[in-house]
C-alpha cells in the first residue's frame, strides 16, 4: 500500500511539463534509434550523456530511461518490415514477423508487437513497484562482504549470459577492472597508471570510453561495407490484430511478460536474452512447434512482450542494489553519477522523488509509446529511408561534441578515438565490450568492498564464506565457473557409456 502511495507521489513528479517533455523526447529518440539499425541504446545513451549535465537529474534519467525502453518498441518495426533488427533484442522477431509481412500481415504483426510491448512493460512495472522497495530494504543489511560477492556475481553473470566465449569475456572483465583503477586511488591517494598525465589523475571518463566503444566503433564497423536497405512494401492497414490473432497470442503475451520480468532482473540478462528465451519457450509449449519461423503471431507476441518487460525490470538491480545489469543500464548508472547520485539501497530514502518519479514516468512513457507507435508506424517505417551516409555525419559530430564537452578538452576527443579503434578491434576479435564497461564501472565498488572486508576480518578471506548472503551469492558464481567443466565431464561420461 505504501508503495502505491509513493507511486502516486512519483506521478506528481513525472507529470510536470518539463518531465513530460523529457519523457516524450526519450520515447521518440528511443523509437527512432530502435527503428534505425546501426546505433543501439547504449551508444545513444552514451552519446547523449554530456547533454544531461545541464538538465535536472530526474529529467535526465527519465529521458535516458525512455531511450532504453523506447528502443525496444522501435526495434520490432525494422525486424518485421525489413528483416533487419533495429537493435539486438528484436533479432528473433525477424523469424516470424518478417514472414507475416511477406504474407501481407505486417499490420497485425506490428500491432501485436506494440500491444504486447505495452502489456509486458506494465506487468514488469507493477513488479518493479512492488519488489523494488522490499529489495532496497533488504539490501540495507548488506555489508562490504555481501557487496563484494554481489558485484562479483553480477560481473560473472554478465560475462556468462551475454557472450559465447567465456574466456574472452573474462579477459575483457579483468581489463575493465584495470581501466577502472586508473587515476588517484581513493583510499591512499596514490596515482595508478596515470603515466604522469594530469588528465588521467581523475580516472578515465565513462562517457568518453562509452562513446568510443559503442559510438565510434559502431561507425567504423558500418563503414566497412555500408548496407543497402529496402523496405518490404506491404499493407500497413488493419493494425489491430483480429480476435483469432488474440486467441493464439494472448498466452504468449502473458508468458512473455512473466519471463521477461524475471530475466531482466538478472545481471547480464536484459532484453536480448529474454526475447530469445521467450521464443524458445513459445516453441516448446506450442502444439505445432514446426510452424515457428513460418510467420505465426506467437513468434512475434512472446519475444516482443518479453524484451519490453525485461528492459523495465532491469531497472530493479540498478535502483535497489546499485548494480547495472547490462550496458544500457550501465550508461544510465553513469548518468546518476554525473549528477552526484549513487544508485543503490539508499536511493529510495535519500532521493524518493527521483526513485518514484522515474518509475512513474515509465508508466507515462509506455502510454506515449503506444500512442506513438501504432498510429505512426508508417512514419517510423519511412524514417528508414534516411540514407545512412547522412545519419553517420550526425552520429560522428554528436560523438566528438559530447567527448569535448566532458572536460572542454580536445584530449578527450583523442581518447574517444582511441577507444573507438580499440572497440573496433575487440569486436572484430570476438571480445565482448559489455563486461569491460561493466567492470570498469563496478571495479571501484569491488575494490573498496574487498579492502573493507579484509580489514574487517583481519585479512581472513574466510569472511566471504561465513556470512549467509555472501556465501549464497558466491556459490551461484562458483556454479557458473564450474558449469563448463561439469558439462564437459558429463558429455565425456555419456560418450564413454
Amino acid at each position: 500500500m505504501d508503495a502505491l502511495v509513493s507511486l502516486g507521489h512519483g506521478f506528481l513528479v513525472a507529470i510536470t511539463p518539463v518531465n513530460i517533455l523529457y519523457g516524450f523526447l526519450g520515447a521518440v529518440l528511443g523509437t527512432a534509434i530502435g527503428v534505425l539499425p546501426g546505433l543501439g541504446p547504449p551508444a545513444t545513451i552514451a552519446i547523449l550523456l554530456p547533454i544531461t549535465y545541464k538538465i535536472p537529474a530526474v529529467s535526465a534519467i527519465i529521458m535516458l530511461a525512455g531511450i532504453y525502453y523506447g528502443a525496444m518498441w522501435g526495434g520490432s518495426t525494422t525486424s518485421i518490415l525489413l528483416n533487419i533488427p533495429g537493435e539486438p533484442a528484436s533479432v528473433v522477431t525477424c523469424l516470424d514477423g518478417y514472414k507475416m509481412a511477406r504474407q501481407g500481415r505486417a499490420g497485425p504483426a506490428l500491432g501485436i508487437a506494440a500491444m504486447g510491448s505495452f502489456f509486458g512493460a506494465i506487468v514488469s512495472l507493477m513488479g518493479l513497484v512492488l519488489i523494488a522497495p522490499i529489495l532496497a530494504d533488504f539490501a540495507l543489511k548488506f555489508g562490504p562482504p555481501e557487496y563484494f560477492s554481489l558485484v562479483l556475481l553480477g560481473l560473472m553473470m554478465a560475462i556468462y549470459l551475454t557472450e559465447e566465449s567465456v574466456i574472452k569475456g573474462l579477459i575483457m572483465g579483468v581489463l575493465g577492472l584495470i581501466l577502472g583503477s586508473i587515476g588517484i586511488d581513493p583510499a591512499y591517494g596514490a596515482e595508478r597508471f596515470t603515466f604522469n598525465l594530469v588528465r588521467l589523475s581523475g580516472g578515465l571518463d565513462f562517457v568518453v570510453v562509452g562513446m568510443g566503444l559503442f559510438g565510434i566503433s559502431e561507425v567504423l564497423i558500418n563503414l566497412e561495407a555500408p548496407e543497402v536497405r529496402e523496405v518490404y512494401k506491404t499493407s500497413l492497414k488493419k493494425l489491430l490484430p483480429t480476435r483469432e490473432d488474440w486467441r493464439h497470442a494472448w498466452a504468449s503475451v502473458v508468458r512473455g511478460s512473466v519471463l521477461g520480468s524475471l530475466i531482466g532482473v538478472l545481471p547480464g540478462g536484459g532484453a536480448v536474452i529474454s526475447s530469445f528465451a521467450s521464443y524458445a519457450v513459445e516453441k516448446r509449449v506450442s502444439k505445432h512447434p514446426e510452424r515457428f519461423g513460418s510467420g505465426i503471431i506467437e513468434g512475434v507476441a512472446g519475444p516482443e512482450t518479453a524484451n519490453n518487460a525485461a528492459a523495465t525490470s532491469s531497472f530493479i538491480p540498478l535502483l535497489t542494489l546499485g548494480i547495472p545489469g547490462n550496458l544500457s543500464i550501465a550508461m544510465i548508472f553513469v548518468a546518476f553519477m554525473i549528477h552526484g547520485i549513487r544508485p543503490g539501497p539508499l536511493l529510495l530514502q535519500q532521493h524518493p522523488d527521483l526513485f518514484w518519479g522515474v518509475i512513474a514516468s515509465m508508466f507515462i512513457g509506455n502510454v506515449i509509446l503506444l500512442a506513438l507507435n501504432l498510429p505512426l508506424v508508417g512514419f517510423w517505417a519511412r524514417l528508414l529511408k534516411v540514407p545512412y551516409k547522412y545519419l553517420v555525419v550526425v552520429i560522428v559530430v554528436v560523438c566528438v561534441m559530447g567527448a569535448y564537452s566532458v572536460n572542454y578538452a580536445a584530449f578527450d576527443v583523442g581518447a574517444m578515438l582511441f577507444f573507438g579503434i580499440f572497440g573496433y578491434f575487440i569486436r572484430k576479435g570476438g571480445f565482448p565490450a559489455a563486461p569491460l564497461i561493466l567492470a570498469m564501472i563496478l571495479g571501484p565498488i569491488l575494490e573498496r568492498s574487498l579492502q573493507q572486508s579484509l580489514m574487517m576480518s583481519g585479512g581472513d578471506p574466510g569472511i566471504f564464506f561465513r556470512r549467509g548472503i555472501s556465501i549464497t551469492l558466491l556459490s551461484v558464481g562458483g556454479l557458473l565457473v564450474l558449469k563448463p567443466i561439469m558439462l564437459w565431464l558429463w558429455k565425456k561420461r555419456r560418450g564413454n557409456v
Binding site: 574466456i167 574472452k168 579483468v174 563503414l223 554528436v398 561534441m401 569535448y404 573507438g420 569491488l446 579484509l454
Partner: protein
C-alpha cells in the same frame, strides 16, 4: 538479417594468438607496476593490491586463451573488412582532435563532416561543403547557444556574440 561473418580457423588462430600475447604483456606491466605501488598485506591492502590481483588474473586468462588459440579451439571472431573507409575516418578524427582548439568548432567540424561524407561516397564538392557547414552550424547553435555547452570558437573568436 545481418549476420557477421565468422573468421576462418587460421585467421582466428592468428588473431587470438596476437590478442593473448598483448594481454599477457599488459598483465605483466600491470602486475609489475602494482608491486612498485606497494601491495601491502591482506590485512592492510595497499594501492597495488587489487590491481596486482587483476594483472595476475589477466596473465592467467591470456595464457589460457593463447593455449586455446594454438589448439584451434578459440571462438567468436570475425574477419576484418575493407579498412580504407574506417582508416580515413580515423585519420580525420585524429586531425580533428589536433586542430579543434586552434581552428574552432565550426571550421573543424565542417571539415570533419566533409571527410565523413566523402568516405560515404558523397563526391559532389559543393554538396559536401554545404552539408558539412549546415551540420556544424546547426550543432553549434544547438549545443553552444541553446544547451550552454561552450565549444571552442578558434579563429572565429571575433564573431562570437
Amino acid at each position: 538479417m545481418n549476420t557477421p561473418a565468422q573468421s576462418t580457423g587460421p585467421a582466428r588462430k592468428t588473431g587470438d594468438t596476437i590478442a593473448s600475447i598483448i594481454c599477457i604483456l599488459i598483465g605483466i606491466a600491470v602486475a609489475a607496476w602494482s608491486v612498485k605501488l606497494d601491495l601491502g598485506t591482506p590485512t592492510e591492502p595497499q594501492p597495488g593490491f587489487f590491481t596486482f590481483l587483476a594483472g595476475a588474473s589477466l596473465i592467467v586468462l591470456s595464457v589460457l586463451l593463447f593455449v586455446y588459440a594454438r589448439l584451434g579451439r578459440s571462438s567468436g571472431s570475425e574477419p576484418l573488412g575493407t579498412l580504407l573507409r574506417p582508416t580515413i575516418l580515423v585519420v580525420g578524427l585524429l586531425i580533428y582532435s589536433l586542430i579543434l582548439d586552434l581552428a574552432g568548432y565550426v571550421i573543424a567540424t565542417t571539415m570533419l563532416s566533409a571527410v565523413v561524407l566523402y568516405v560515404m561516397d558523397v563526391k559532389i564538392w559543393w554538396k559536401v561543403l554545404a552539408i558539412g557547414l549546415v551540420v556544424s552550424l546547426a550543432s553549434y547553435a544547438l549545443f553552444d547557444r541553446l544547451l550552454g555547452i561552450t565549444l571552442p570558437p578558434g579563429i572565429l573568436e571575433f564573431i562570437r556574440v
